[in-house]
Symmetry: C2
Subunit: 414 residues, 2 copies
């Protein structure tokens, strides 16, 4: 009997009617002979309602208590979906993160999963029950409720799929999969039926909003296939995107898609004496503050000093800026600065590994549009540039066209 | 250092502003040198919002899953109040029923508390923290969330006060104490500054809405004084009602107040062959269905058969009616019937113990108004009658005046 983990996002469970539709879908999958674990988000709007209440009471409140409040959103949904399933004659049992025992660290509001206790879930599955788990939450060693950060329900789903060795992890959302870029920016963006986990990882980390990056990392690490589907499709045969191992994908393409991100901010500490260990000295207090760093760029030094630039989430900018300005003195840096009005644009594709010239085409395309590149960073399967935010849409559209993503993709044969 | 348990009801925490006012009050009590445990209800309207969602998904849903949903109301409040306290510089820590480990049985939606683990709370109190506990909820042996039934936050507060040996249990509500009867029915109802736990027990069980009966039972059993106060009073010197041991009350009166209840329904199984064990046979399936019975009346039998009448909460009427009609055949009863349009009116006072004639005055007063009495039941300190619901207000007003409760009370000296 196959085990499928399904995750339904906020809009998919946004009303009693939508929850009933989810129950119908779950029952159809169950009746095909599958065991089902469902992970649910808060009903759309609920998390914001709770965050608004929190903001009314506290400017910079205890993260522990914020998590206590915010985690109720998913708890409500899990109970309601279980009720809907039972009303339709399908045995179900709900679990909070605490009840499963999804053990996390104590980094409230962005906790990381340490382990999952599968015993209770297995017992309920063996009794033929559908299991409904509150996404986005866990419990730390002291029994305090933790949340995994925005979008963390995807991570819950993948982590459960891995822990219980599921056959597939289905992420139901309000779109029917991954596109070559955001269709709101490029109208003729094309649907991608299948892509590699590594590509998805780069697409997600570069800003595609379909899947949360930590969920994809988790899936990549444990080879767990993820299928992205729309909960708004009638029936179960609509379009979807399967995110799976590179080996399982026949059609490799040079560039799979164009990703972008406008939630970042750039920080620079310049004129730092170029000595071994300087990068560590700069980044370790940032990491200690639990601020995630995305791009890091350091160029070769001239006159014995170097400039060090990195990007963080825009929400963390002020805190990170405070930290590096304090550091600047100790490091005898010339100055520290930053910029919030930037955006990052990336091209992603496993085909790049064996084909040169992709970066050159990217820079050429942007140059033709007179878009100045502020930072460049590359990996095996992606090239990212940081540009002024105002050029973002123009950059994405020209790259999408420049790499022919609006047309039937050219498949690489070697 | 004194330990005070305070409970704030739904209207007391009905908005961010109200929660801030509660935080201010808690801090004032703390600054007087007390240790404080706060028990909170859901924000007013929230429980009904959740019940409405549940009703949209399930006609007669799993009580386990309903409790999962409903219990989030108190969890939100406890987090918000903790945030408000911390924003005002007061260290606080919140606890769900699961986190305290308020162990209950598994009677979802009306669970009973079995034990309270005080260890974690003690540790936090010793660190000077204010503890904020979600009322109305517990956890059963399997780790499932349970709720204690409507008004159960009072029970949580008293149970915590008893478990931690508190000096006083303060119940903050939207009224400033107990009155001789409901001021909405009798405008010149008088405030009672002090009454005996036993009187409160009868007042509460007879329908005064200020305190939940189980909370008073708990307090009575363990001699825990309860003070009822209004969270809408500015400052902390407003009126209040102290509910305490009879021995601690100097002024005993004949009749303390008039209580009433329109949430009941009456069930009768008549013409039952009068044999030993018949009452047990009737009531035990009702108890098995977890339906609470209030009054029970059985009169002496004539012609070898007897009529057996009891009252239940009106919500339980249909279920109870079904049960006794099924029984009627087995018991060879003549018929079973019932009536939903009844109300119960009671007079309560510890002075009755030693003074006859109170019941006679009651019946005389009702008779003068032409109100027919359907059932009578008495205890040491109260007399209750069941009448047609339409006479309720008239009965309460005439009894309130008949016993002189609108005037300065006559104090009994022996």
């Amino acid at each position: 009997m196959a085990l499928i983990v399904q995750k339904y996002g906020g809009t998919s469970v946004g009303s009693a009617e939508r929850i009933k539709a989810v129950a119908d879908r779950v029952i159809r999958w169950k009746e095909k002979g599958n065991n089902i674990i469902v992970v649910v988000s808060a009903m759309s709007g609920e998390t914001n309602r709770l965050l608004d209440l929190i903001a009314q009471l506290s400017d910079n409140g205890s993260a522990r208590e914020s998590d206590v409040v915010v985690s109720t959103g998913e708890q409500v949904t899990m109970g309601l979906l279980s009720l809907a399933l039972e009303a339709k004659g399908c045995a179900a049992c709900s679990y909070t993160g605490t009840q499963v025992k999804i053990l996390t660290d104590s980094a409230y509001s962005k906790a990381r999963i340490l382990s999952i206790d599968e015993n209770n879930l297995r017992a309920d599955l063996n009794q033929g029950k559908v299991i409904v788990v509150a996404g986005f939450q866990g419990v730390d060693e002291t029994g305090s409720i933790t949340t995994l950060g925005r979008g963390g329900s995807d991570t819950t789903a993948v982590a459960l799929a891995v822990a219980l060795n599921a056959n597939e992890c289905q992420i139901y959302t309000d779109v029917d999969g991954v596109y070559t870029t955001d269709p709101r920016v490029v109208r003729n963006a094309r649907h991608i039926p299948k892509l590699a986990l590594e590509e998805m990882l780069e697409m997600a980390s570069q800003g595609s909003k379909v899947l949360q990056i930590r969920a994809v990392e988790f899936a990549h690490k444990y080879d767990m296939p993820i299928r992205v589907l729309s909960s708004f499709d009638e029936g179960d045969n609509g379009k979807s995107t399967l995110v799976t191992r590179e080996e399982d994908i026949m059609e490799k393409v040079l560039v799979r898609g164009v990703a972008f991100n406008r939630d970042e901010a750039q920080l620079t500490i310049s004129g730092v004496p170029d000595q071994p260990g300087v990068a560590y000295k700069i980044l370790s207090p940032i990491a200690d503050a639990n601020i995630e760093i995305d791009m890091i760029v350091q160029n070769v030094s001239s006159d014995g000093s170097t400039d060090f630039t990195f990007t963080v989430h825009r929400n963390d900018y002020d805190q990170a800026h405070g930290i590096i300005c304090q550091l600047a003195d100790n490091l005898r840096a010339r100055e520290c600065g930053g910029n919030k009005n930037i955006a990052k644009v990336s091209i992603v594709g496993v085909g790049m590994r064996s084909h040169a010239g992709v970066a050159r085409t990217m820079f050429e395309t942007l140059g033709k549009e007179n878009i100045n590149i502020r930072m460049i960073s590359t990996s095996e399967i992606k090239v990212s540039v940081v540009i002024d935010e105002k050029y973002l849409e123009l950059a994405v559209r020209s790259l999408h066209e420049g790499f022919g993503l609006d047309k039937e993709q050219q498949v690489l044969v070697d």
